[in-house]
Symmetry: none
Subunit: 156 residues, 2 copies
DNA sequence: GTCTATGCAAAAGGTTTGCATGGAG
DNA sequence: CTCCATGCAAACCTTTTGCATAGAC
């Protein structure tokens, strides 16, 4: 599902404000990366963006991509993606809400859940320890009914 | 709180078995790192272990530390600390109670928390959706007080 | 004695930085 | 016309690897 025009505009506007407020410049490279980023689904790293921007509209240096990704992160359009050991993965932050997953370790099926009670507890933990929450990861890994049944049958 | 002698012995025994089963060798370096690791609280990276082992008993190469940390991870004495942007952090897995992490996206500091209420909610979610829980990941990413202050100061 | 482990240094992979030049405001 | 941004290449950092030698079994 491609991103909505409204989100695109909102993001562009947000970037422009962010830059203006700090006396930074609105450059073709920054706008180009923003467009590409908004059209990218799921998680991506700097290298992927280098490739996409180059494919789409000519040369960009790796350094500029790294610098601009940092900019987009700082202005809240991107966030670093959870669950990635090591590498710098990003995902778009606009228009997404925190959602959690439970998934089956055997068959890989994934279901979503949302528990306001957990969010509340998270807020209290963060407050207690002095953090301002940026995001959270909450995943339950288990065995679904079908896989348990299958495993049980196999054992006999 | 220093680690208990019993845990120390258990870990050593586990490592010996692991090595013996695979025809690998029990070397002074491996035992030394194991001791240091068990005496280290919280989260640590390879570099910290290089420093500690060297301080404690002379020379070790960085390569050996990396190789041995991998070994300790594979035999279940260590685990990689989840979701740490950037560096490879470990924590000891033996003799630890289940706990989750909250960490600062900026400076990387990590703190642990444990909330029985969350565990209970997880169980109810799993029951409702028909899963048997194997494990969970629950992490809060935020900005710690110091980094917020630093960021606020920088913006002015 | 055999075969794995270690140390060293070089390589690798990802990200950042210094500097001269290009371009936004 | 003033600074900031860009491109390029070199620097950086952390982790991995190749190879000769040390050492466990």
């Amino acid at each position: 599902m491609p991103i909505e025009a409204a989100d695109m505009d909102e993001a562009t506007e947000r970037l422009r404000c962010f830059l203006r407020d700090r006396r930074l410049r609105v450059t073709a490279e920054r706008l180009a990366l923003l467009q590409v980023v908004l059209r990218t689904e799921g998680h991506f790293d700097a290298d992927k963006m280098v490739a996409r921007v180059r494919r789409g509209r000519g040369k960009v240096s790796r350094a500029t991509i790294y610098r601009t990704l940092g900019l987009l992160e700082r202005c809240g359009i991107l966030r670093r993606s959870p669950r990635t050991y090591g590498r710098g993965l990003y995902e778009t932050a606009l228009g997404r809400r925190p959602h959690d997953h439970i998934f089956c370790a055997k068959c890989g099926r994934i279901e979503e859940f949302y528990e306001e009670r957990v969010e509340r507890i998270q807020r209290s933990i963060a407050r207690r320890l002095g953090y301002r929450i940026l995001e959270h990861v909450h995943e339950i890994v288990g065995l679904c009914r079908e896989c348990r049944r299958a495993a049980g049958a196999a054992e006999r």
